[in-house]
């Protein structure tokens, strides 16, 4: 119990440091690359989480599109430091926050905010937040399903209707998050791909940020709808 408490304390500290540094990077716009900031951040979180380099890449589900090493290092460091456990506790608390007996956001509302975090805090490369937060989003997808009584039963095949419903909920929130993260470098004030386009056209930097952000929000919702309504289980026995 004591070990868990100290792990959670380290998790809170690492998660707070991670989010504060990202928010400060966007507000202050320092004259160094974000990758440098992330690597330094990963080292700090590694020290807090008492992790080694070998530990960081173990147990992570790698995806070729998210090859940003700094993002993976952060994800590994946060996972070992307990950052994702803490993230789940915070998200659950936000979802269950009540006023006069009514939840304000609920699990869906918090899921909507979580899926849009990459564009709320746009990095110059969408892979950074995608890689860094995906384990947390995956866990929260499972929490949404469990809250609505959809339980994953390992004894049954994945094509079983209940298990497939669970997978669809997790895939919906995960795919929406990935699409949002992949597009989030467009409106980034730190020099994303949208800024490059604006520079080439000679328009003021950041002039298309708001319209891009609107488009990304709508696209995130469309992605969630497509995944939830179109994806069907494979007909194998």
């Amino acid at each position: 119990m004591a070990a868990m408490d100290s792990r959670l304390k380290r998790g809170y500290l690492s998660l707070i440091i991670f989010l504060v540094v990202l928010a400060l990077s966007i507000i202050i716009k320092p004259h160094i690359t974000i990758q440098t900031i992330l690597v330094v951040l990963a080292i700090i979180i590694m020290i807090i989480g008492q992790a080694k380099i070998q530990d960081l890449v173990a147990g992570l589900i790698l995806h070729p599109i998210m090859a940003m090493t700094a993002g993976f290092l952060i994800a590994g460091a946060m996972g070992l430091a307990g950052g994702f456990d803490v993230l789940l506790i915070i998200l659950r608390a936000m979802a269950e926050f009540e006023i006069n007996g009514y939840t304000v956001l609920g699990y869906i509302g918090v899921g909507v905010i979580l899926a849009n975090i990459p564009t709320i805090m746009p990095m110059p490369c969408g892979r950074i937040l995608a890689a860094a937060l995906i384990p947390g989003v995956y866990l929260y997808g499972g929490a949404i399903a469990n809250y609505y009584g959809i339980i994953l039963d390992p004894a049954l095949p994945l094509t079983d209707p209940t298990n497939f419903k669970y997978i669809t909920v997790v895939a919906t929130i995960l795919a929406a998050f990935i699409v949002n993260a992949a597009a989030s470098c467009g409106p980034s004030p730190l020099g994303g791909i949208g800024g490059i386009g604006e520079g080439n056209m000679g328009t003021p930097i950041g002039s298309s940020g708001k319209s891009q952000a609107c488009g990304i929000m709508i696209a995130t919702g469309v992605c969630a709808l497509v995944i939830a309504l179109v994806v069907q289980p494979l007909p194998y026995s």
Partner: protein, 48 residues
Amino acid sequence: MIVMVIAGIIMGIMFNIALGRKFYESGGIVGGAVVGLMMYILGGGFAV
């Protein structure tokens, strides 16, 4: 700001439907409005 909040609400309604809830449930709508507002304050247009 209003446009971004409306875009957020539309996105929230889509999430409500996608996650098997009724389209008018408050969670997705309030969440979407919060996202629109946060994106207006911190995201995208921050540099403008």
